[in-house]
Point group: D2
Chain length 335, copies 4
């Protein structure tokens, strides 16, 4: 029997993600018409969206900005007490920013930065979604009608962030927020931590940190949305191709996480994943799975290898900003 302290289970799940886009109208078209999300609110430079299966009112906040990237990443605590515990822990690290007033559909939240500088917040009070009549489902346990529009993503799943020091950010999430480490890519005989996948629930990962090989800070690798079946990912591939949306990789199956995926760039430039499969982790004493250079291979279990851009492109796009006014994002033309 082990003597190690009990793992804190104070974070319930990824609450919402704010994406920044220099192309707000086209990004809205992408998330609403292509991915099938619903717009529930618009305010200032932001639109609030949701997947048909998300229980919260809104899970994606799309905000106009000069450059693509990720804004605030929100985590829901399991209770007011848990919120208080996490706030106290974060404050001790010196990374806390303080309490904010409520945002749409939410109570107040406590803002902080992870060691790499990504903006995050933690909150407890959440308004459950109440669908208007025309969006009410025939199922009492489904928050919103399945409209079948576009890819029809069910809910948000996770996000992957770039960081200069993967280990520092991984440790922060483990120690201050109680995340469990699920998988790691370790190069150079375990000395170089290339990527770490973490979660606060049985979902395989809710956040991943991957080495920023360009030395940036606070950047986004991808934001991931869930569909229920692999067929939905295949259908998405045809639908996105027919509408001129660039598919960077997949449909294919990852070795790490066993996820079945495709990656696209939304018109603002952020990488977006349509995702399913993977596996749930139930073991409280899970032993992280590690992959070295050779085992990791191309990052795929089967299917086409991940392209170079998957390693080099992130938002904001440092090279595009510093070197050239030209657009580096693949062109697409929503017909």
């Amino acid at each position: 029997m082990t003597d190690r302290p009990e793992r804190i289970q104070d974070i319930a799940h990824l609450g919402s993600v704010e994406l920044l886009t220099p192309q707000p109208a086209r990004s809205l078209w992408y998330f609403r018409d292509m991915l099938g999300m619903e717009i529930v609110h618009q305010s200032g430079q932001s639109a609030y969206l949701r997947g048909y299966g998300d229980y919260a009112t809104s899970t994606l906040k799309l905000t106009e900005a000069k450059a693509a990237g990720v804004g605030c990443i929100s985590w829901r605590a399991v209770s007011p007490q848990a919120l208080a515990r996490r706030v106290a822990a974060i404050e001790r690290t010196g990374l806390g920013l303080g309490w904010t007033e409520s945002d749409f559909g939410r109570g107040r939240s406590y803002r902080f930065k992870d060691p790499d500088g990504h903006r995050m917040e933690i909150y407890y009070e959440e308004a459950k979604y109440r669908a208007p009549a025309q969006l009410r489902s025939a199922l009492k346990n489904l928050p919103m009608k399945f409209t079948g529009r576009g890819v029809a993503v069910r809910r948000i799943d996770h996000l992957a962030l770039l960081a200069n020091d993967v280990g520092a950010n991984r440790t922060f999430m483990q120690e201050q927020l109680g995340f469990q480490l699920r998988e790691q890519v370790l190069f150079d005989q375990g000395k170089a931590e290339i990527g770490s996948w973490l979660s606060a629930s049985p979902v395989h990962h809710q956040v991943a940190y991957v080495k920023d090989i360009k030395g940036g800070h606070g950047r986004l690798h991808h934001f991931s949305l869930w569909v229920d079946n692999r067929e939905d990912v295949l259908r998405a591939a045809s639908l996105l191709t027919e509408h001129g949306v660039f598919i960077e990789a997949g449909p294919s199956m990852h070795n790490n996480s066993q996820g079945f995926y495709l990656y696209t760039y939304e018109p603002g430039g952020n990488r977006v994943e349509v995702y399913t499969g993977s596996y749930l982790v139930f073991a409280p004493d899970w032993e992280p799975v590690t992959w070295n250079e050779e085992e990791r291979g191309t990052g795929v279990y089967w299917g086409g290898a991940l392209p170079e851009s998957f390693l080099h492109y992130a938002t904001p796009d440092i090279e595009a900003q510093s070197a050239s006014p030209e657009k580096k994002v693949p062109l697409f033309d929503p017909a």
Copy 2:
């Protein structure tokens, strides 16, 4: 902000289920050749099996017995401390039976009965599965090779138990084990609790209690195994039909739980579900979904209605035992 006490999160997941069978050889054939589970151990009158994705060594214990039914239902605690807390709580109810020595692949466990008399146990020490060479997967994060044999169930998912007093058992699981109530069927304007679905994790339900309309005790409605895709359930339907296994209901989609399912009887007589879909519950303040007589309908969202036998048949089969030596289980002939 609420003042209610924090929900205890001491149970990690359903650890294993023991099924009793009067037809051990044919039941083994069913779980090994039809459902595709692997036999990892045999001892005395019991065989120990696992799905290819289960992290534990064994998740199904098949034990020869005079009548079909469920034996011991095992729950894993999240930590030794959690185990101690739950044992203390159970002991206070008077339903505790005491500690047992370790079973195959497990450390010691604390035995108890739920109010209806089902045997249960709680434990923490668990041996993770280490596959022999010929069953090692090409994936480092998959405990065992995907052999593709038969239905190829990935893991155990949940079970449904009959009870005379659904409310008493539901309350026991909530209060003593910290389960969250997910959905309920309430007839007679909420006064008659027909069924309750509960879980200790984001998995929709790990146990369900349903009214035993025949007044039995300790009976099993069904045991459920997970496959990753709806296509797997459809494929299972053809495979089982080709091999003469009786399909009682489905493939179809439940309204409650949104599960996509089919139900068969294993040769010993126990009802077994091949299951996927459903939805994860992330909300710490989840409001249980309730269904009345009318809303519940046939229990299906779409697809064929559940047959009468779904309401009347359970194991052990009280009528078969009391009234007649004849076999009530549908005939099947494994070719």
Copy 3:
């Protein structure tokens, strides 16, 4: 080696089907918004639609009428010479009605009735679909963009007609049009021909004749549209249920034809099948598969049994017309 005469292969495929509807606006909503067909033309009381994979300009003609039912059923000949041969053969039977001018997207056709009185025509000249810019596919070999709207049926597949004398109609299709008999339901030791499934191509059946147990004439049992995957049928079930469209049977799998299906009623009252799977028949000397009362069972391989209405309801609905002004079609309310 056989001495029998060579089978004529003069019919290429089912060209189009005309459905009659007393609810033209709601029927259009069903076929356009729910099934995802495209409206290519409207003229008089008719709208012309197509599936995204149909090579012809239009494959469904929806015509306003007092009662639901099937209008003209069109067959395309493989060549002008084949057309001439079939016209000569039909004229000899006395069932010919004569040549008509071209309809939208078609050259002239020869009209006739089958022995039961269903209106049919045969033609050769067909305008291939040329998509407007906004509906052009990214695939050169796909006639129209896959928009993913609603069920997104790919193409029309077949239709099932009721007849008083199944054998007479089956013989007519075999002898005058060169169809091959694929499967039959024969009751009463082969003396009662309940249903016959026929095709002029490797597609399992393009037309079926089933006994009209109410003694009507010229009636429609169902019209069937193709999707590529079983998942599409499951997705259709959720989509149709969410929008209040009545599903009469399925998703399930037929024994006869091995088709995977669901049946709905379109708002005008006609039964419409969403269909995939089945099998192609390549054998030139195919021996028809016959099913008796017992083998036929419920008509399903697995899944819920076909309901009574499947045997008793057809369009036009004789009982509704003769006995009562009340609507017999299940209510639905497109949200």
Copy 4:
């Protein structure tokens, strides 16, 4: 109306393919245990196999040989008269080889070579498969039980041959055998015929000819087997990977043919495709779809690009034979 002569429809379908293998035991393991085919007969150096849905007794003949490659390719005529007509036509070309005695499950056949030197035969008499008791299906219209073993391919679909002069072989199949040209890859402004896809039935293609860039003769690019669902291809990818079988490309979707595929090498070295999707061609006046250098792209609609080996490797492997005794086929180790 056109005056062109009627297209002959004398060929029903691809009857069987003979594959040559220097690794007969391991090739048998691949086709039986991995792809799930059934061995129906063994004689001399050959084994005869079938898919569960093939109506003929055997559709794949596996023959031990010094080098991998394709042996005799068999086409079934629609009638004895059609057979006689095709034999007469072939004899006029000087490519006829004469009549052979019956092979297992077949009557006599007429042997010939295509212009590139591939051995072919045409026959009419075919013994339909009669399953032994343990392999009889629960479905009367399914020739053999669906056992679900391995990939469980349903039937053979098509094959792709390399040729020095694609046009000459394409013309031969059109003019002597009545195949319809479906799609073409034409480079250099239409002057270089890189590939042509042809069929004698609505199946998109039963044979393809692709330019042999190494100047060989009579070589095989790939042999293709059908599964019913895209999920089956995804499942195959996991199953083959788990058993160490090399996957060269896919799962992915072709632009040409719209097929959903994966390519592996069987242990003998021949490229084998697991295939589904595609589209049926019903138009008797089909206009071949042509792709130039740019449109063809990587040959995929979406998914990973086809690797270099897809262009350079074929069987027999000319380079391996001439230059080196070393094995060029990727290693695999059936566990």
